[in-house]
């Protein structure tokens, strides 16, 4: 057998993490209302399926862009030949305006500083290639999106050093944690090139506070490093305190013409906000001309289809549509999130208070046999195989505390979400009744054992409000 490269043969792509194993199980036994009602419900996929009808109605009313037409004339030839890595100007303009709109027009973006890529996955990798040498490191606050272990590291040779965040302050980034991570990197002989944050956070579903953003900017200024703000969920912020972009904070600090301005880069995509991950549209925004120049050329390895660029430029240029879409989408996300949070609450499960994203960061620590990751894995397996819900365990997101899980709510119908909540509730009841979880009160435990299971279930049911 011929030798393959070490990249092809090694396992460092994180594909073996539980995050992906859950998916594999789901593929084998997917829930379908009619054909497989006992199948596994997918709650590990952060996809936004709540607002397709808005997109479809727009497409129906505007058939020209999908048909390669502009003002009645066919522009098929130009699109078919268009492979300029600078991107379709009309699309970039529409995209920067959309981004500004999401930020309440408190900041504006220059299309010449934007680079289009085939999805945020490609954008993040390209930025790594541009900012770091193999063997250098980026600091990432935990918990973070499991895909980063693959996207940021695999081909680039860059390392990730975690910034440990804990539930004691709702997983906010602290100066101590930043300094500790920087120190840890140095101890490992890794040169730190920057910090990468996801704002709003995946998997937490929270937006970074102004003080955290200020802290980050001060930190990168002192250390002289880069900051990448992955703002892919910026359009999914549905309640207060609202979304504050790092660009806004920089402006407020009058950093626009300073050195640090060039070291802050934003990653964006339409996969979450518009619910179009299949379209493969991502973007890098940077004030550093060299980064823009290099990233533009590198984008040859992942250009966005000109057909897609044209279609979306028409969609996003329709300001009436975008205004309505943004607010309606946020409303629907808020309702869904609320449904999940309330449903979990009734099951005795709490979530981190969140105001964004397509998921909740759920606290199931009280259901663990012990405060260990082994116990978390045990619980997770039960939830996947017995409860038949695919959710993401906190360990796959590098969370330092066992017992947290990411549960998505925007990729299914309301009915399915209801069913998922019910399954989880039944599981919790059984779980606690069997005394498997750590109980806070030993007396409560003994009291429970006196009553038969069916009575307990009956008692709990009385507390439920009507679910539909």
């Amino acid at each position: 057998m011929r030798h393959l490269s070490t990249k092809a043969t090694c396992n460092s792509h994180g594909q073996d993490s539980s995050y992906f194993l859950g998916w594999e199980e789901y593929e084998k036994n997917s829930y379908d209302k009619v054909q497989n009602p006992k199948g596994i419900i997918q709650m590990g996929l952060a996809e936004n399926q709540l607002s397709f009808d808005l997109l479809e109605s727009w497409l129906e009313k505007n058939p020209e862009p999908a048909g390669f037409k502009r003002d009645g004339k066919s522009i098929f030839r130009e699109l078919a030949l268009f492979q300029d890595y600078h991107g379709l100007p009309a699309f970039k303009k529409a995209l920067v305006e959309f981004m500004a709109e999401i930020r309440g027009n408190r900041v504006s973006f220059d299309p010449n500083h934007m680079v289009l890529t085939a999805g945020a996955t490609s954008a993040n990798e390209t930025l790594m290639f541009c900012l770091a040498e193999p063997g250098e490191a980026f600091l990432l606050p935990t918990p973070y999106y499991p895909g980063f272990d693959r996207d940021l590291k695999w081909r680039t040779g860059v390392e990730i050093v975690p910034i440990h965040c804990t539930s004691s302050n709702d997983f906010q980034i602290t100066e101590t944690a930043l300094e500790a991570a920087y120190y840890e990197a140095q101890q490992c002989n890794l040169r730190v090139k920057g910090v990468l944050v996801t704002n709003p956070s995946n998997p937490l579903g929270t937006t970074l506070s102004r003080s955290e953003l200020n802290l980050l900017i001060s930190f990168i200024t002192t250390k002289g490093i880069h900051l990448i703000s992955d703002e892919i969920y910026s359009g999914t912020v549905f309640s207060s305190p609202g979304f504050v972009s790092v660009m806004e904070v920089l402006k407020d600090r009058n950093c626009d013409k300073s050195e640090v301005w060039d070291r802050v880069h934003i990653v964006y995509s339409l996969s979450k906000d518009l619910g179009l991950p299949g379209f493969r549209v991502g973007a890098i925004y940077s004030n550093d001309d060299m980064v823009v120049a290099a990233a533009t050329k590198m984008s040859s390895f992942g250009l966005v289809s000109s057909q897609t660029q044209y279609l979306l430029s028409a969609l996003l240029s329709d300001k009436k549509f975008t205004k309505n879409y943004i607010s309606e989408n946020q409303k629907r996300l808020k309702n869904r999130q609320n449904m999940l949070v309330m449903g979990l609450k009734r099951a005795g499960i709490s979530c981190l208070k969140s105001n964004a994203g397509l998921f909740c960061w759920v606290n199931m620590r009280h259901l663990l046999r012990s405060d260990t990751f082994e116990a978390e894995m045990e619980l997770w397996k039960k939830i996947v195989y017995d409860v038949r819900l695919n959710i993401s365990p906190g360990s796959s997101c590098h969370c330092t505390e066992p017992g947290w899980f990411r549960v998505c709510f925007a990729n299914m119908t309301e009915e399915t979400l209801d069913l998922a909540i019910k399954r989880l509730k039944d599981f919790v009841v059984e779980h606690t009744a069997n005394g498997h979880s750590k109980s806070n009160n030993s007396s409560k435990k003994s009291k429970r054992k006196l009553l038969p299971k069916w009575v307990l279930r009956l008692r709990d049911r009385d507390h439920e409000p009507d679910e539909r």
Partner: protein, 533 residues
Amino acid sequence: MTRPRPRTPESESETRNPTGGGATAMRLIVPLQGVVQGRGGLILGSLIPCALFYFFQLYLKRHRSPKPGSNPTSPSQSSSNLSDLQRSSSRSNLSSRGSIGPVQVSSRASSIAKPNDSPYYIGLDRVSGDPYDRLDNPNGIIQLGLSENRLCFDLIEKWLSENTKDSVMGRDGADLSIGGIAPYQPSDGLMEFKVAMAGFMSQVMGRAVSFDPSQMVLTAGATPALEILCFCLADPGNAFLVPTPYYPGFDRDMRWRTGVELIPVHCRSTDNFIISITALDQAFNQTRKRGIKVRGILISNPSNPVGNLLPRETLYNLLDFAREKNIHIVSDEIFAGSMYGSEEFVSMAEILDMEDIDKNRIHIVYGLSKDLALPGFRVGVIYSFNESVLVAAKKLTRFSSISAPTQRLLISMVSDTRFIQEYIETNKKRIREMHDLFVEGLKQLGIKCAQSCAGLYCWADMSGLISFYSEKGELELWDKLLNIAKINVTPGSACHCIEPGWFRCCFTTLSQEDVVIVIERIRKVAETCKISS
């Protein structure tokens, strides 16, 4: 590897003049010469040199600029002296752990961000600054440097107007459901699209071979397809052997981020630029002597920029060679459907079909940018017989997946075998017409072309027009053609051709009237060249 540029006299004299403290040191040392040679007697001969040497060291110490500092103090404390030193010091110095000052971008970024100095890219840039248009800009530069096919768009437009309902959203007729294309798709392409592409590839290659969709990985263009293969087959520092002349884009696509080297294997016009195994063997051995590991051979068949086909015999020889040396073969067959001659195209896949040989070393790259003239839609294919490569490549496609609406549209188009058959035949006819017209026009000027039967260009021998039979002479002619004749052609040196004077001229972006104008413009320059030589 690009050919080393000839050193200009200026750069050499620069290196000879030492700067700063060095010059002073020279002046001190020279008077010592006599002493050092022992002409001053024993005392003078030993004491004085020692004393002078001591003072010399003291002098140097006082005038030495401070090092880039191991103390990470804030940048504001750095003197101008220090920042000067930083700028001139080597990159390795900058990346040392203790360096002062904020981080720069990576070395990969700074080398990529530099404007590309290959005539291939310079020419393309010049045209976009002053593009020819028959009505709006008749004195603009005519583009002959981009292998694009504009001859058959009318056919595709007709198909679109008759079939748009099925195209973007899905095959459910009236049901415009975006739910089909919006969600995450498999990163290596929809199975439906792979099936359609397998059928298409088989059709354009004359049905001599069939392709298995499960051995396919789809990517956003042939550019990422090649890069992904490089990542899978080679480690940084390894090399691929590439017959010259080759497509200038390979230097970028295969080397930029992978760290892989390209070793040219020179082919000669006497062989019609077909690779010889002797040359291949030589290149292999020379590379190995330099301590570089060769991982494979990259061939383009039909060839770019020459436009010829590799004969069956050559393909067999390449396979034997690869087997003997235990290396891979990557066959870029992107022009397989752009044949206009009467010869038969033989794909690597066809050879493997017939032979009962180890197929794990063969990988084919394909795409729709040339044969279906859709470079903007970004459709590329990796076809491999190696299961491990397929698994690894599939994972890498997440960085370059094809947009779902594009896949939907093309599934319909590419599966329409009747339309594709009509397209292939019409395309062939039109390319041939344009080719014959252009080559005949060049012939009138005394310019002969290499024998070719595929591609969207011809490989013209303009060595008769250059003043010096060298790369310099060729680039002078290229410059004249670009700035005086105002046509952009690709010089052979950009393609690493070892014989000067060859130029690639793409003619499928032109209309028949344009061809006449182009020939006329070349004639004018040709006449001035003949006068001066």
